[in-house]
Structure formats: structure tokens, C-alpha cells
Symmetry: C2
Subunit: 603 residues, 2 copies
């Protein structure tokens, strides 16, 4: 069958309707973005050197961002993922209530890579084993249709990029898998208070079957909300029973849980109340949070505003209570302060707290000796520790930032070029930039102490002694507190996307930087690092609160709350869409919701 480009397709229609052509000209000129869809001929590399094989596992934020930014045609890329599309996960809470359609936030990965003109192949399959000895990944087709069992195959790699994301974590709470709906969480937001018992629970939960099927989960939540309303409308039910069915419980007071509760409240208030007048007054939403406040990763002003708004809206907030069990009709909670246990009847529970490690990542971690960790540890260049050709990014990985204190003696000796045993400021000036680049915690510490640069920090130590030179002891004491500034990055889309982009840039400049390393000085080795280490740039975070209001915490701790922030949210989320198609669909979905409300058909 022959392939039609968009131009041929257009031609087929306009050929017989010349008057439409004018309209098309106007549309095309005003919508410059259409140009993005002009086709590019696939690039057929004719290098004689065999191309390096890159295998990318996963098509979430990290994997897709890597693929989108990869420009070098010196690689042969294979992408393996059970989802043949990229999903714009921050809009999932909107999908649960039909504010945005599921179809509007997904883009086929083949479509994303097709226009790049480089050699990228996609396989719809799940990787179930990584074999580092033979540089192979083993995969299984994700289809369980009647087409004849699941296909298995293996793929060789020279470089492996692991971006498989995380899965929901139920902390082995009984009944959660069976009775709850799952909504992708944005942040590692552990529900239980004790981190060590958490860790144990996460590990013992490794055989847990919960797999994040984000988009399908969101669609299921939408259907269940309608189901509850339909069910509550049936005759022969007691008032008690109707109330139970219309009690929606959200577990987890992070941004996702809060946004879902707010969306659901709007859905009930603006749309369902009109269609289900008999039962609308029975509907109730409860948000459960183990901590003392919701949105605890945000500024206190935002938390306070959100809590007040929820109270005004009639969303019941229950903080300081942990979920200990879920059966088919009740969710049992325990008050952290009093230890009091209560059974809450519910119609639907949405579990939106805790992310865990996928089994294949667990296996891989065991294989490479990374036990007792909650995610794959990488160095600052996103390389899995001890493996030079394996990279891990996004929610499945965590960067193990090297501590200054571990390297203090080598840092000192690098700076002390003449081996005098003391440093003066001039010696030091030469390595300052490299230290700051290699150990970003130094920069954070300076910022916190409101110092201009590392020289100020050393001077403040020197000042005490009135000397002009530093010995190793003084140097160590000056830097002794900088490691306290080290923080794990949150498991957000933003981090994953930046990591994907960073890694793609490394791959794009791999040869060039091999010849002229651009990274900082190697303190424990010789020469320089090939690349600059990954540095996360926090661009701010939103928390939509419903009723056309949102809160945002922007860089520099700038806080913005209210209706204008919701408009900012609309424009940021529209601009961040992965393609013009999803952008157009998401914006038209918002318009549709505004004009016609949300659809409550149970499909």
C-alpha cells in the first residue's frame, strides 16, 4: 500500500473543492505550527563504521525526552516499552474526571521519533531481564490477545538507557491491590512515617503485582465514579448504602491526590449534580493524609490556602491518619497521635501515595550488587554505578551524589599543586570552578550562607586563624558542612525530562567530548570528566485546587495562588505538550469542558 503525505491527503480533498483552498491558506499561515508536521525524509546513514547500538527501555518522560533530543545519527536506537505511546502524566488527574480526554494526552512514540531522520526502532514489549554479562536485554511482547501467546526475544546493546519508571507502592497494606484504584503520584511521598520499616516493606512488596498502567487506571477511575452515581440511583437501597457508595476516598495528600480530589469535587458540583439530582447531596469526598498537612512539599502559604479551600468546598480532610487495611466496603485508618482505629465505609478509594521499584529493576539491582536501595543508584552522569555503558534515569533511578568529605584529601592535593601541604587562595582559585561543578552541594551551601563564592567560605575560616594559608585540617573544617545540602531529586516528570535531555546531549557530543572533555577535573583520577555532570534546574511546581484556582511554587520560593495561577497552569501545560496534535486536543478539551461540561457516559 502506498503512503500518503499530508500534502497528498490535502490535495485529494482540495482538488475537487478549489474554494476551500483559500481557507486552507489562511489556516496554514495563522497556524505556523503546522509546519512542524512537514515530512522529513528518513536519513539513510551510509557510514562504513558499524553504528553503536543504543537500547532505551521505557517511553515515559525520561525515555521520550531522551529520544526527542537525540540528534546524532551515529547510533542505532531500539526502544522497548509496553506502551507504544508517550503519556503527558501531569494531566492524568484531569483524565479521571473527563476534563481532558485520555486520547488527548498521548502521542505514539513512533510519531515522535519518525520525524527525526535518525535510526530509531520501536518494539512494543516489556523487558523482563537485563543481562549485563552479555550486554543483552530479554523482552516479552505485552500482548495477551488470542493471537497465539506472548512472543519473547532479546536485544543486544552497546549502551543501555533504563527509563522504566516506577510502580505504585501499597506498602503491603492488606486489600489495597484488590480494592483500590491507582493514580500515578508525582513524588516519592512515603505514607508511613518510619523510613526503615518503609524500606523493608518496599522490598517485601517486590512480588506485588501492581503495575502502573497510568492512562488505563485514570480511565477506570472515571468509569467507577459514574458507576457509583448510577448505582446509588438504583431503587431498594438504604440511605446508608447510598451514602457509602457515594463516598470517595483519596489516599495521599500530595499534589496528585489533592488535584484529583479537587477535580472530582468540580465534576460532582458542576456536572453530576445536575444529572443525578436525587443523590447529589449524598456525595462526599475524603482526603486521607498520614502527615499533619497536605501538600507538605509546598510552601506553608499554599498548604494553608489549600486546606481552607477544601474546607469551604466541603472536601473532608483527615490528616495524621494511616491506612492499615482496605476491604470491599471499608477502609480502616489509624490515627497517628491516638492510635485510634476507625472503619470508613467507601464507594471508591483512589490510592495516590508511594511509588515502588519494578521487579525487573529489583532483579537488576541484585545482579549488580545494589541491594537495600529503593531505586537504581547512578553517578552524577546518570551512569549506573560500576557500569560504564548503562544509564538509568527518571523515576527508576536516583543520583548518588559524591560527598565532598569522602574526597577531601584528593581535592586538597589537586589544589595544592606544589605539594606544600598548605593552600593559598591563588592555588585554590584554579580548581574552584571544578569543585563547584563536581560537588553542587558546595554551591547550595554557599547560597544558603549567602556567600558569593567558595573563596568567601575559605576566608571566613582563615579569618578565625588570621592566616593566609590553609592546611588540610582547616580545609576540611571549612567544607565540613557542605554535604548536608545534598538532597535526592524528587521523582517528578520535570526531573525525568531534564535527565533525558541531558543524556541525549551527552550522546550527541559523545565523540567530540571524547576528544575534548568538557567536564570538571577528575579529583580521584587524572584528566577531566568527559561531560559536565547532570544538574537539575527546578522550574517550579503547580497544585491545581479546583474551581479554576491553582497554586504554584516557582523558583526563588515565589508563591502564586488563585485564578490567575490557573491560567498560568493552562498556558504552561499547553506549551509543554509533546506535539501540536496533543496541544490542539488538550486546549480544545478545555474549551469543550467549559462550554458543554464533562461527559458522564459510561464508556
Amino acid at each position: 500500500m502506498r503512503m500518503f503525505t499530508i500534502f497528498e491527503r490535502a490535495f485529494r480533498v482540495f482538488h475537487d473543492n478549489p474554494s476551500l483552498s483559500k481557507l486552507m491558506v489562511v489556516c496554514t499561515v495563522s497556524g505556523g505550527g503546522l509546519l512542524a508536521f512537514a515530512e522529513t525524509r528518513p536519513f539513510s546513514g551510509s557510514d562504513s563504521v558499524p553504528k553503536k547500538k543504543v537500547v532505551v527501555l521505557g517511553t515515559g518522560w525520561a525515555g521520550t525526552s531522551f529520544l526527542k533530543n537525540l540528534k546524532s545519527s551515529t547510533f542505532e536506537v531500539q526502544v522497548v516499552s509496553p506502551r507504544n505511546y508517550f503519556a503527558f502524566t501531569p494531566l492524568l488527574p484531569s483524565v479521571t474526571c473527563g476534563t481532558v480526554e485520555a486520547r488527548s494526552i498521548v502521542e505514539p512514540i513512533r510519531n515522535i521519533v519518525r520525524k527525526k531522520g535518525i535510526n530509531i526502532e520501536f518494539k512494543e514489549a516489556e523487558c523482563y531481564k537485563i543481562d549485563t554479562d552479555n550486554n543483552k536485554v530479554y523482552c516479552r511482547s505485552s500482548q495477551d490477545t488470542n493471537l497465539g501467546g506472548k512472543e519473547e526475544f532479546s536485544v543486544d546493546y552497546d549502551y543501555l538507557v533504563i527509563a522504566m519508571g516506577a510502580r505504585s507502592n501499597t506498602f503491603n497494606t492488606p486489600g489495597v491491590v484488590e480494592n483500590c484504584h491507582f493514580l500515578k503520584v508525582k513524588k516519592r511521598n512515603y505514607f508511613h512515617s518510619d523510613p526503615i520499616s518503609n524500606l523493608k516493606k518496599i522490598f517485601s512488596a517486590q512480588n506485588n503485582k501492581t503495575v502502573i498502567q497510568e492512562v488505563e487506571d485514570a480511565q477506570k477511575i472515571r468509569r467507577t465514579v459514574i458507576d457509583c452515581f448510577e448505582r446509588a440511583n438504583l431503587p431498594n437501597l438504604s440511605e446508608e448504602e447510598r451514602k457509602r457508595i457515594l463516598h470517595f476516598v483519596v489516599v495521599g495528600g500530595g499534589p496528585t491526590g489533592v488535584e484529583f480530589a479537587a477535580e472530582l469535587h468540580d465534576f460532582v458540583l458542576e456536572d453530576l449534580a445536575k444529572l443525578y439530582p436525587n443523590v447529589k447531596d449524598l456525595a462526599k469526598i475524603t482526603l486521607l493524609e498520614a502527615g499533619d498537612h497536605i501538600l507538605n512539599m509546598f510552601d506553608k502559604r499554599i498548604t494553608a490556602f489549600a486546606e481552607e479551600k477544601f474546607q469551604r468546598d466541603g472536601i473532608h480532610l483527615k490528616t495524621g491518619s494511616m491506612v492499615i487495611k482496605v476491604d470491599d466496603k471499608h477502609i480502616s485508618t489509624k490515627e497517628r497521635s491516638t492510635g485510634e482505629v476507625s472503619d470508613i465505609p467507601y464507594g471508591m478509594v483512589v490510592w495516590s501515595t508511594g511509588i515502588g521499584t519494578r521487579p525487573v529493576i529489583m532483579d537488576f539491582m541484585k545482579q549488580i550488587g545494589q541491594t537495600n536501595r529503593r531505586a537504581l543508584a547512578t553517578d552524577e552522569w546518570l551512569r549506573v554505578e560500576g557500569r560504564n555503558n548503562i544509564y538509568a534515569l527518571g523515576d527508576c533511578a536516583t543520583i548518588n551524589q559524591r560527598k565532598v568529605m569522602e574526597d577531601i584529601s584528593v581535592i586538597f592535593s589537586k589544589a595544592d599543586k606544589n605539594n606544600s601541604g598548605t593552600l593559598n587562595l591563588k592555588d585554590f582559585q584554579e580548581v574552584i570552578d571544578d569543585i563547584c561543578e563536581r560537588y553542587p552541594q558546595v554551591g547550595l551551601y554557599l547560597k544558603k550562607r549567602q556567600m558569593r563564592n567558595i573563596a568567601d567560605l575559605l576566608k571566613s575560616s582563615q579569618a578565625e586563624k588570621q592566616g593566609t594559608e590553609l592546611d588540610i585540617a582547616l580545609f576540611t573544617s571549612a567544607l565540613s558542612e557542605v554535604d548536608s545540602q545534598m538532597k535526592n531529586l524528587p521523582a517528578t516528570a520535570q526531573v525525568a525530562a531534564q535527565q533525558g535531555q541531558y543524556l541525549a546531549n551527552c550522546f550527541n557530543h559523545m565523540e567530540e567530548c571524547g576528544r575534548n572533555p568538557e567536564g570538571p577535573l577528575r579529583f580521584r583520577g587524572t584528566g577531566r570528566h568527559r561531560f559536565r555532570p547532570f544538574r537539575y534546574k527546578h522550574l517550579g511546581q503547580f497544585a491545581p485546587l479546583g474551581g479554576e484556582q491553582a497554586a504554584a511554587q516557582l523558583p526563588g520560593d515565589w508563591v502564586s495562588i488563585g485564578k490567575s495561577t490557573q491560567w498560568l497552569w493552562y498556558s504552561v501545560y499547553a506549551s509543554k505538550q509533546v506535539s501540536w496534535r496533543t496541544r490542539a486536543l488538550v486546549v480544545s478539551d478545555w474549551g469543550r469542558r467549559f462550554i458543554f461540561g464533562r461527559d458522564s457516559s459510561r464508556i
Copy 2:
């Protein structure tokens, strides 16, 4: 929770953004249709007379059309259906390939009835038993979630409107239920040639589990098409196997099967070929039809055009072959002419032929003594035969038109007022209109013989005898052939919608027409019929053929084929949408498809 109208909702946004108001004014003025969404206060009837209870089973074309047209507030209406929405089924073939989204063709039934201001309640449940002795229907909630089993309840009725549609019929062909996808067919288009063996097969198939879940089925087909392409892209498969997986077989050459084959061809050609360049040449579409031609209910010119177009497009057409078995990888067909059996390997089979009777309708038919029929028989007023308060319409019913020959003697005696044993034209003139209204086949016969009116028919008989009066024998012989013009109505959306509208009008004028009957003379009784009998007005039928071409057969056997017909199709289908919301969505889906192509994300 308080209810927001659209005005309040708009106010919340525009309050803080006065500049948007101007835009809104422009939009509102140009889109007068928005007015349709202005809210009407629910009418609270304060009659002292207890309202008659009307129960409507089903929310398809017939049921929804009835509800939309019902205006009288003297009824208390309960609607019971497992689907809480109305689906615009003629667009289902478009949904299978993503040309139109499923969400765009559905409208919640509560939304449709809410604005009417009459007392209509909806229950999401399936009727499983009709008890005519006690005027009750027994229903079961359609939810099988973890909410605690299925709820059962009964509803009393004074009038029952059965509009439950039909289900797919596999004619007990082995393996069809297990291995095929189903697409709602538009017409009773029996696949096997022998009508009597068909009837037996339909009856023996009554325990068959196939239930039409039209929208879900269409979505499943869409996912399976993508699945096949993803699967064919996996490594380690033989060329043979890839070809099998990408062989799409459509069973049934009616308008639905043809439209699906055409849509699929466009989807592969315009969208999938670009995304799956490695396997695009292996994809093949085969259309199986038992008759000698596809679209056999259409004019021969349309059939010829469609067959030629399919040949040009490379859609393989296999006519004259019956399906005898389907296993998980092969579909077995038997040539009608030669008896030759062949096994065709396939990746997906879509079954789009034959509609059967739902089990609950079967039971009901047994209960009222209607055995050996393929659908509920009603009289010309859509009343189930022998039951004055039960109506059946749409695909689950068939009108049993009274034959002239059965009533010839009573017709004669009604006309012969002076009991002279002969009729002259003057006697006859008085009852001509009533005869034509009561027995529409008379009108059809006259039209076929190109006579102006029934008097011409009688005159042509008289002419032979040179007499001026007719006795019963002459009268009988003059009308002896008119019953040959009786035809069953096709099981189309058009018929169902007109029946729903007709019945609603009867209900709207029930009291009024009780006092002043508007129907024709009762020939077998006294007085007049309360209502005019239902008369179907055929408005034409479309057959989209893909590649922006369609065929249409319009009233008066006017045939139109080509690109302009496709535009006619677009405008007719847009105008027939049940709400402004679905209209806007369907039109924007067409636009989206044109600009961005169809989405191939597997969700």
C-alpha cells in the same frame, strides 16, 4: 453540594477576565446553538390524577428518539438500560479506526432527558424478565465491580416500551464468539442463503452469550488493529507469520462491513504505513460475502462502483463464500458454487453480518405465544400483538402488516353500506382513503402499476366486464396482488428513530385522540382507530467507501457517488447528531483527522 449552571460557571471565569467577555459575546451570537443549552426548570406536575407509568427499555435509537420526542407531562417515565448513554451507531465504523473518537458519538441519556422538563428517571440496569401478568419488569444492575454483587429490582408499568435492540448473530458458526470481533450491522443481512435453516439456527443460538456492546466493541477493534501492527513488528517472526498477523478479514458485505474495510484501508494507507514502514507492504484486507455482490441492498451502480474501487485499492473481495469455522489463526470458508473449503490465516476477524434476538426478548416471545419468529411481532401501531399496553420498536421488533386478503370480506361489507352485495364507485369513494391508510401495500401496488388511485384499479377490473358495479369476487380479484408489495422494514437506525418519534407523538396525543380518533376506519370492528398507523419514510442510505468517497441511494432511487457524496455524508451525519456537544466533537474529530491523521496509541 450546590449546582452550577453554565452561566454561573462562565461567570466564575469571566469575572476576573473582563476582556474575555467580548469574545464570549461574539461566540455566543455566532453559535446560536448554545441557546439549546439554556436550562429549563424541571416541571413539577401538580396534577391530582395519578400519572400513568411508562417504562422504556433501552437507550438506542428507538428508545432515545421516543424520549426526545415525548412532550406530555401526564406520564411518569422510567428508563432502564445497561448503557447510560445514547450512541450514534452509524459512526461506529469510524470509531474502529480513530477517525472519530468514541466519546464524540455518545451523549448521556440523563443529559438528553434533563432539559425536557418532564418526569423521566433513568436506571442503569438490564431488564432480564418481563412479567405481563403483573405489569412488571425485573431488572439487574449492569455493574460487576467490587461494589458488592449485582443489585436486582422490579419496576411497575402501565405502558411498556420495548426498545432493546438486537444482538450479533453468529448463526452458531463454531469459533466465532471466541475469535471474532463484532461490529454492529445496519441491516438484517442473513449470511446463509436458506431462510428456514437460518431461522432454526437463530433459535438454536438463543443461549449464545454474544451481547452487543457496540462502542466497547469498536474501541476493541481499534486496539486490536494497533496490536496486530505492533506484533508484526517484533523480531524473530517469519515473513509468513507477519503476513498472517496483518491479514484483516471482514465478514459481511453490507454497508457496515464495507465501511469498516474502507476505513481500515485508509487508516493503514494514510497513517499506519508511515509509522510501520517495515511491515506496511504485508498488510492485507479481505472482505467475505456470502452473496454474489457486496452492498446488495443498494442500486447495482453503487455495487459496481464499490467493487471496482475496492479492487483498485487492493482490498481483496471474496464473494459467494460462507464462513463455516473460525479457529485462533484460521477462518474456514466454503465456496457456495463449488463447495470448496479453504482455510485463510488471519490476524483479526471482524464479524459484521447477521443480527439476532436477545434472550430476554426470546423469553418474552415464548411467554406471549410468539414462537418461531425472529423478532417481536407488533401491529401497525407498534403494539405487541395481543397486548394493548406493550409497545416494541427498533431492531427487536418487526411490524406484522395486516393483509388485505385476510380482511377482504369485511372491507367489502364496510364499503357496501346498503348491503346490496355489489359496490359502485360512489360507495367505494367513501372508504378509499381509509383502505389506503390501513393497508399501505395498496398504495405501493398502485405506485408500481402507475395508477393514480384505487378507483383506477377497480376500473381496470370493471373494464374487462364492461359493468359499473363490483361484486365480492371481482373486488377480491382486483386487490388480489396488492399484498405482494408488503415488505419488512430494514433494521436500521432510521426506522428505529422514526418509530420512536411516532410512538412519542401517540403518547403526546393519547388523551386527545382518545376523544377524537385520528386513525382510519376499523374494518374488523366499529369506529375508527385511535391513531394513524406507523408509516416509514425512507430518507436514503449512505455507503462510505473510503478515500473521501461515498455512495448514496436517495429516495426516488436517485444514486449519487463520489467525493461530493462524502461531503453530503459529512453534513447529514453532523446534522443528525443528538446534541450540540457531540456535533461539535464529531466535526472537530474530522478536522483533527484531516490535519493530524488518526492516533495509533494503544489505549
